[in-house]
């Protein structure tokens, strides 16, 4: 079905990507590997890494701060990504209908994603401010006592989640919308002709056709959300207490604030491993869904 020349060309198509990735990730990977099993020291104006076996890992597994950061990260990912997917799907379906001002809504809904996370962090920090923020002002006028959005240990993590949802629902929306646009209309019409209801069309035709794009969107969002740091760094700095300290923020504090390079790398590498496992589980779970489309 596919010519020999095309097969050779396939390699050519793939090679730039593979080579670029190798050039940029091989050395960092080995460097990190040396750090996580080693001890970094600055001696005589240079960096030396000595082998210490699993010392960093022993320290990591005994560190309550690590387990806290892991739990915080998992909670943010679980809540934020699932809500983002549902909201994004809902919005994509709404805009995909023949509504007036479709173009307007399409652009407007993407805007939060276009703002740099640093700016998003500052913006929501202002909005959630318990003294001078707009929400507090409204609540006070209504006679409700103010909520410590960023100052209450049990609330702050949800403020981070809200911020993440605000910013990244557009990502889900855009991917699902693009995928919806690519569904041939006659598929849907054919189902309609067979007498399927709106819900059945959605359940039997649209959702399966969206599966590859959904999987891609969820996986990518998951990967990014696991690494969440910019907004938290600006909004709470990980506080109050450690209630919003994510893995990357923890790694940053150890690696770059205390300049404990080896332990910082160990924390970050453990995040990499967590992510690898989570992604493999996810990909395997969804493989069958995707293969249906690949045939």
């Amino acid at each position: 079905m596919i010519g020999k020349a095309a097969r050779r060309q396939g390699r050519l198509f793939l090679s730039p990507t593979i080579l670029l990735l190798l050039a940029f990730t091989l050395f960092p990977f080995l460097f990190t590997l040396a750090l996580v099993f080693g001890e970094a020291r600055f001696v005589g104006g240079g960096l030396q890494i000595g082998f210490v076996g699993t010392r960093n890992w022993a320290r990591l597994f005994q560190d309550e701060r690590f387990w806290n950061a892991l739990m915080v990260t998992l909670r943010i990912v679980a809540v934020a990504v699932s809500l983002e997917y549902l909201l994004g799907l809902g919005l994509a379906l709404l805009v995909d209908r023949k509504v007036r001002g479709q173009n307007f809504f399409r652009v407007l809904f993407i805007v939060p994603m276009l703002l740099t996370p640093i700016a998003v962090g500052y913006m929501w920090r202002m909005i959630f401010d318990v003294g001078r923020g707009p929400i507090t002002g409204v609540l006070q006028r209504l006679g409700v006592s103010p909520v410590g959005w960023l100052t209450d240990t049990s609330v702050a993590i949800y403020s981070i989640v809200i911020t993440d949802i605000w910013q990244w629902t557009p990502f889900m929306f855009l991917i699902l919308y693009a995928a919806l646009q690519a569904i041939p209309p006659d598929y849907i019409e054919a189902a309609r002709v067979d007498g399927a209801s709106g819900w059945q069309v959605f359940r039997r035709v649209i959702l399966p056709l969206l599966a590859p794009a959904s999987i891609a969107a969820i996986l990518l969002r998951m990967v990014e959300c696991f690494k969440i740091v910019d907004t938290i760094y600006i909004m709470t700095g990980g506080g109050p207490g450690r209630s919003t300290e994510s893995m990357t923020l923890f790694a940053y504090a150890i690696g770059f604030r205390a300049f404990d390079l080896d332990y910082g790398a160990t924390i970050a590498f453990s995040l990499f491993l967590t992510l690898l496992v989570a992604a493999m589980v996810f990909v395997n779970m969804t493989r069958r869904l995707r293969d249906v489309r690949m045939e």
Partner: protein
């Protein structure tokens, strides 16, 4: 009757989400026209009602601070657009090969290659960035546009490949197969046949890569010093001994979101269904 109710519900939901999107942005934009004490002794909501707007921060951005603002902007534009373009092309090519040709490198098959590519984005930048700093030091790429462009291209490639391969997996092959039978090369089928079909997806991918590069913070922070400084760094540097300069941060953030919005508006016609020839 039911239908009308449905329509009302649709518009109601759309407007509700529009409000969710706009309200925080409204706060940001109005903060950029507030006096310092209107910020500190707030909350002040509506200009001319709650507070008297001031243009002083904006005026300063375009006069005293002109150069300090302009260069990071140009840097961001150059770096983000070139890297997004490269990423999209390379990513689409790799994804096309992966979804159409059967590869075998040792034990690695297509699925494994794809997963390996995607997994390159799992590595938290916080670790890789120090190693890349060392590499750039040796190759003299620190504080250069090329350095940032390369870093962002590599950083976004897994995203582009993964997205494109999932979009391409969705496309029925019947059209291409006809071309292959006629002896067409991958190059021809990709750019003549497939690209027009997946234009919305390509545009979405480009937009993501642009936005991620435009907004990226950590790489820019470590790999640039002064000449290649980007907009997010400029915003973050408005926080110093007097705390966050909310008005400057707000004005700069507003300014920073304009180019991506402009690009989205410019590209948005490619999202329109009519361009997709499937099912014709």
């Amino acid at each position: 009757m039911q239908r009308r109710l449905g329509t009302v519900a649709v518009y109601g939901l759309l407007l509700l989400w529009s409000l969710v999107v706009v309200a925080p942005l409204f706060w940001m934009v109005t903060t950029s026209i507030k006096d310092k004490n209107d910020v500190f002794l707030g909350p002040k909501y509506l200009p001319w009602v709650d507070f008297i707007p001031t243009g002083q921060w904006w005026v300063r951005l375009f006069t005293v601070e002109k150069d300090a603002v302009l260069y990071p902007y140009l840097n961001s534009l150059i770096v983000a657009s070139i890297s997004a373009f490269l990423t999209t092309i390379l990513g689409a090519m790799a994804a096309y090969a992966l979804t159409r040709v059967r590869f075998k490198f040792g034990p690695m098959k297509n699925e494994d290659i794809l997963f390996w590519i995607v997994s390159q984005r799992f590595m938290p930048p916080i670790v890789t960035v120090f190693a890349i700093f060392v590499m750039y030091r040796v190759t003299r790429l620190l504080d250069t546009h090329i350095g940032l462009i390369l870093a962002y291209t590599v950083f976004n490639l897994p995203l582009a490949v993964w997205l494109m391969s999932n979009f391409l997996a969705q496309i029925p092959r019947s059209v291409e197969e006809a071309a292959w039978v006629d002896g067409a090369s991958l190059w021809t089928t990709l750019f003549r046949v497939v690209v027009p079909m997946v234009l919305p997806s390509l545009v979405a991918t480009f937009l993501f890569c642009f936005v991620f590069a435009w907004n990226e913070f950590l790489f820019a922070l470590i790999l640039s010093y002064s000449r290649a400084q980007t907009v997010p760094l400029l915003i973050a540097s408005q926080h110093f001994q007097r705390g966050p300069q909310w008005w400057d941060i707000s004005a700069l953030s507003t300014l920073a979101v304009l180019p991506p919005i402009a690009i989205t508006v410019a590209l948005q016609k490619y999202f329109v269904k009519g361009l997709i020839p499937i099912g014709k």
